[in-house]
Amino acid sequence: MSGVNISVDAKAPDAKQEWVPILDAQDVTIRYGTAPAIKNVSLTVPQNQITAIIGPSGCGKSTLLRQFNRMNDFIRDANMDGHILYHGVDIYGSGVDPVEVRRRIGMVFQKPNPFPKTIFKNISWGPVINGYKGDLQELVESSLKRAALWDEVKDRLHDSALALSGGQQQRLCIARALALQPEVILMDEPASALDPVSTARIEDLLFELKEKYTIVIVTHNMQQAARVSAYTAFLDMGKLIEFGDTNQVFTRPREKRTEDYVSGRFG
């Protein structure tokens, strides 16, 4: 249970007082066609914390995550009831441009997906198309440093990003998201395609990032959720079963279903 102890340390008692909501899902139902994937979920994501969404395969956790930065807009037949507020503003409201939503709420995907371009261009492209006027060199360097990748790639910034290892590629994708200076970063099982060493590096990175960013991470790895997150939401069959601070969810779950899942009885 050492993993759980880490998360207790990470979440000092005063964390409660810093609870500032940044994303707020209100009674959200998401359907593909007519089949609901998420049913009446209400969930508040606190600022500058790591919130984990766990649950068995097919429970809708990735669907819910994609709804937070309107990536479900690209899925045919996906539709939503309810509201998702970002700093109190409905991101699905009229007059909200989804492109701006995605610039502020970044995303890292399950499989590393660097562009088939140089490392430098992978980082600089997002800021450039969004009209960044500052020093690109500096931005690339600081983004790579924040993603703990700088030392490994500083001598080959103009080589192809595809030559990097899987773990490096995923940190590059994180650096790419950071370069836009988003407030929130959504991560969809960012370590599931990586080996244990690369996974550990990504998890270390998450701890550092939460100082400046709000992170929502979807994972089906319960140990990972227990290690890195301050709050955990447990989804099952599209329903939010339990949401609370990670320590409580893993050690004293209120719901029987949660207890069965975190103790490995199903899922």
Binding site: F109, P114, K117, L180
Partner: protein
Amino acid sequence: MSADSILRPPENLRRRRVKAAVFRGVTMALTWFCLVLLAVLLVHATRQGLPWLDSQFLSDFPSRFPERAGIKSALYGTLWLISLTACFSIPVGVAAAIYLEEYASRTRLNTLIDVAIANLAGVPSIVYGILGLAIFVRWMSLGRSVVAGALTMTLLILPIIIIASREALRAVPDSIRRAAFALGATRWQTVRHHVMPQALPGILTGAVLALSRAIGETAPLIMIGALTYVAFVPDGPMDAFTALPIQIFNWVSRPQAEFHELAAAGIIVLLTVLLLMNATAVFIRHRSQRKILK
């Protein structure tokens, strides 16, 4: 039990082996049949045409005296025709493919457009000739000009370019699009910077295949009245013209054997132009594939 008896193939496996060998033999024989047929045609054309193929043949206009006859007007006509056709068909075809693949939603109208495009690719070329005659030559009063021919050819190959380009766009992994969108890119920025560069080699291949078809087409050109006897080179898109396949057709249909040999020489010229086009496409594709990484 000895190893010999354990590993002896059962009757069933022996039969499967025979079937496999027969199938392999049949496919190989058919492949060779096609290649040999092509080789015979090429050798025949080369033997007949090569003696006539000299600089005079390339720089002279057609004549009723075989020894003075050349292919200049047809060669220039074809180059004009293909260049203009490329200018018209590639931008329109690629734009249509991008719209259908990246922007259009799955409405009933768009499904109808999909089916229509696939069907248009199978329409006989003479039908496009009639259409070209009615619309470009007569109604738009372009006359029997290169531009009317190029527009007709554009109609003919547009479906092929659209279908090939859509395939190329579809082959670009969605993860790249998602990565771009998640960085706050618009649809156009995503297409322009990531999808297009990756689809370009496939699009080029499709475009060259389509243009290769256009270069050999005769029927629609005869229909819109590309002249068979032209003693001048087109100066501009509004000039009358002839093209290589028409000149070849014309020579073949004459009784004298010398003209048949001239036709063979014309075929060699046509094939050379085709090969050069393909080589250019391979070159551009190679370069763009290297550039993707940069």
